[in-house]
């Protein structure tokens, strides 16, 4: 009986320690999972299920170098849209990306976490504090 109690306490402790250690990855997972839903509703129609874009009309989201280089511009692009010429994956695109108006900052953060960690990208979490900071500097 006593043994059993000790065992279960030990097991609980182990679980607690593991979950503490991975709270970062837990947060990431939560952002990523929520982000996939935001992506499906607001981004997937144009950018595609696999971020492949649409030939010369809509740029893909698979250019990791571009995403990394312009990461602080991404929240503004989602919030206010884009207009004009843009080179992605060595290809020139021209046109207009509509603003995803009505999205909360946290949703933008979730969507960006999903995008920058899917389709061959691996940039880690894009949390809401980063989005808040970047949105202030939108041009």
């Amino acid at each position: 009986m006593k043994m059993k109690v000790i065992c279960s306490i030990c097991a609980l402790l182990v679980i607690l320690i593991i979950s503490c250690q991975s709270s970062d990855s837990l947060e990431f997972n939560r952002y990523y999972a929520e982000g996939s839903v935001v992506y499906q509703t607001h981004c997937q129609n144009c950018h595609g299920q696999h971020g492949e874009g649409l030939n010369g009309l809509i740029p893909p989201l698979t250019d990791s170098v571009f995403l990394r280089k312009n990461s602080d511009q991404l929240p503004c692009a989602v919030m206010f849209g884009l207009k004009g010429k843009i080179t992605i994956g060595k290809r020139l695109f021209e046109g207009r990306m509509p603003a995803a108006s009505g999205l909360a900052n946290i949703e933008i953060a979730q969507a960006l976490t999903y995008i920058t960690n899917s389709f061959g990208n691996k940039m880690g979490i894009f949390n809401v504090e980063m989005v808040n900071g970047d949105l202030v500097k939108c041009r």
């Binding site: 997937q44 129609n45 144009c46 595609g48 649409l54 030939n55 010369g56 207009r96 509509p98």
Partner: protein, 217 residues
């Protein structure tokens, strides 16, 4: 015993498959009227099916395209506009599958009518087609008189479109792909945003191609 049962089952499956593929015909949509006429001195009842009325619009190359060019052709019609932010990209992504399946088949065409003819002029449409990766004459993008396009969309292709400043992009429209046969009759309507239905459309075009010219008359 077991073996025989399996064999029997397999045989039934095979028969079922064969039966399906050789006898499948697509329904004919739209209102129909019965007429009684004299043929060789005898009274005969015949059915008149609804058909797409004649139209004549301008394609992305600046040439005129109309029902005359589509006579004796199977075609898929959809309604879109180039600056559409909502369902058009996914529709055109799915339509590309249809295009790739039939671009080398001269009697199958794709006709995309713009519902924003004011902005979507032939040069704009050509630019759009090129960016989409569409060349040649198998997928045509047509600009026509706004009222005519809206009328045939709703009355004949049975697709609802309307101008609405509150909708994203300024227009409301449905993403149907409408299949029209060589006799200008509507034979199917598919949700252009659903890849499964578009795969069905590709299958149905093959069925329609195999249909004898006089079938259903």
């Amino acid at each position: 015993m077991n073996k025989a049962a399996y064999l029997f089952l397999a045989l039934i499956c095979l028969c079922a498959c064969k039966f399906n593929s050789s006898n499948k015909t697509l329904p004919i949509y739209g209102n129909r009227t019965a007429v009684t006429k004299m043929v060789n001195g005898r009274v005969v009842n015949d059915t008149i099916y609804a058909t797409i009325p004649p139209f004549k619009f301008v394609n992305q190359y600046g040439d005129s395209t109309g029902s005359q060019n589509l006579a004796g052709k199977i075609y898929v019609a959809d309604f879109f506009f180039t600056s559409c932010p909502s369902i058009c990209p996914i529709m055109q992504r799915n339509m590309l599958a249809v295009y790739n399946a039939f671009k080398d088949t001269p009697d199958v065409k794709i006709i995309s009518f713009t519902i924003d003819p004011k902005y979507d002029t032939p040069p704009v449409l050509k630019n759009y087609a090129e960016k989409l990766g569409v060349t040649g004459n198998s997928w045509l993008f047509l600009q026509g008189n706004r009222d005519t396009v809206y009328r045939i969309a709703e009355k004949n292709f049975l697709v609802a479109v309307s101008k609405d400043s509150t909708a994203a992009g300024g227009y409301v429209h449905q993403g149907w792909f409408v299949l029209v046969d060589k006799q200008k009759r509507v034979r199917g309507s598919y949700d252009g945003t659903d890849p499964k239905q578009v795969a069905q459309l590709i299958d149905d075009i093959k069925t329609l191609k195999a249909e004898p010219a006089a079938a259903g008359k």
